[in-house]
């Protein structure tokens, strides 16, 4: 059974609907503590606020869940080093046929070009290093800021 959402997390959700030329845009922002035990709840919360029932097909909902969980894990563990005094900021925007999710940590950042996926046969038994590779294959577009502490993922409905 899923643990109840921490009160501090619940208080930090902001959701608003903004009229734009492309139709109504839903924006959700969330301030997440650097605690890996929050990830499952944050993923559920984002999906609930951003993707009403049927907006995404089962496969894309799955892809989005895994990609967001990966980005949060990277931000909390590698970015903020699980330092409870630091936060992860999540901004999501649903507009037209796409959802864009930005995850920003308070770490010093990294160079995504230095991360090679462990796909060679001799590397398959590596226990880590698959997160970014998975994200890139599960969503349509992935970008980082210059510092490397913020990832922006875009998934399009199809």
């Amino acid at each position: 059974m899923t643990a109840p959402l921490p009160a501090s997390l619940r208080l930090c959700v902001r959701r608003r609907r903004v009229p734009t030329a492309a139709g109504a845009t839903v924006q959700v922002s969330l301030r997440v503590p650097s605690d890996v035990s929050c990830i499952e709840e944050v993923v559920d919360l984002l999906l609930r606020h951003c993707c009403s029932s049927g907006w995404l097909c089962r496969k894309l909902r799955f892809n989005l869940r895994v990609a967001v969980a990966e980005a949060l894990a990277n931000a909390i563990v590698a970015g903020n080093q699980e330092d409870r005094s630091k936060w992860v900021q999540v901004q999501a925007e649903v507009c037209g046929d796409q959802i864009r999710i930005e995850v920003t940590d308070q770490g010093s950042g990294f160079d995504p070009a230095t991360i090679a996926p462990p796909l060679l046969p001799e590397e398959l038994d590596r226990p880590s290093g698959r997160g970014l590779f998975l994200i890139k294959h599960l969503v349509d577009d992935v970008r980082f800021n210059e510092q490397g502490n913020s990832i922006c993922m875009t998934l399009r409905r199809r």
Partner: protein
């Protein structure tokens, strides 16, 4: 995540993962398998038919578990991966590292003999 563990008559240790297998809970699964190894269990099936999603840390935990089981002369098989979960194993080529059966029953049965 929660999981249930049972040992069938043929001596196969079956663990069913319920919910997600992610960075926040992968250690529970690793600990459970380590304890079973310490108790002499050598044949394992991890079943995912009640699993929502797995992240890269969960996949990494399975890789570590598989290595540990092999090192102690044991065998690990996976089962119950739906189409979405299986796609993660295919993307990362981990489908080539694990023996995967459609159902827990088939995975348990594959040890026979």
């Amino acid at each position: 995540m929660a999981f249930t563990a049972s040992r069938d008559q043929s001596g196969v240790y079956l663990i069913r993962v319920e919910g997600q297998l992610i960075v926040g809970n992968r250690q529970e699964l690793k600990t459970a398998i380590q304890e079973a190894l310490d108790h002499g269990e050598r044949r394992y099936v991890i079943d995912f038919s009640r699993t929502g999603y797995i992240d890269s840390s969960g996949l990494g935990a399975l890789v570590s578990i598989s290595k540990k089981v092999r090192e102690q002369g044991g065998e690990l098989r996976l089962s119950g991966l739906n189409e979405d979960l299986r796609s993660l194993f295919e993307l990362t080529k981990l489908d080539t590292l694990f023996a995967i059966s459609d159902t827990a029953e088939r995975a348990v049965g594959s040890f026979a003999g």
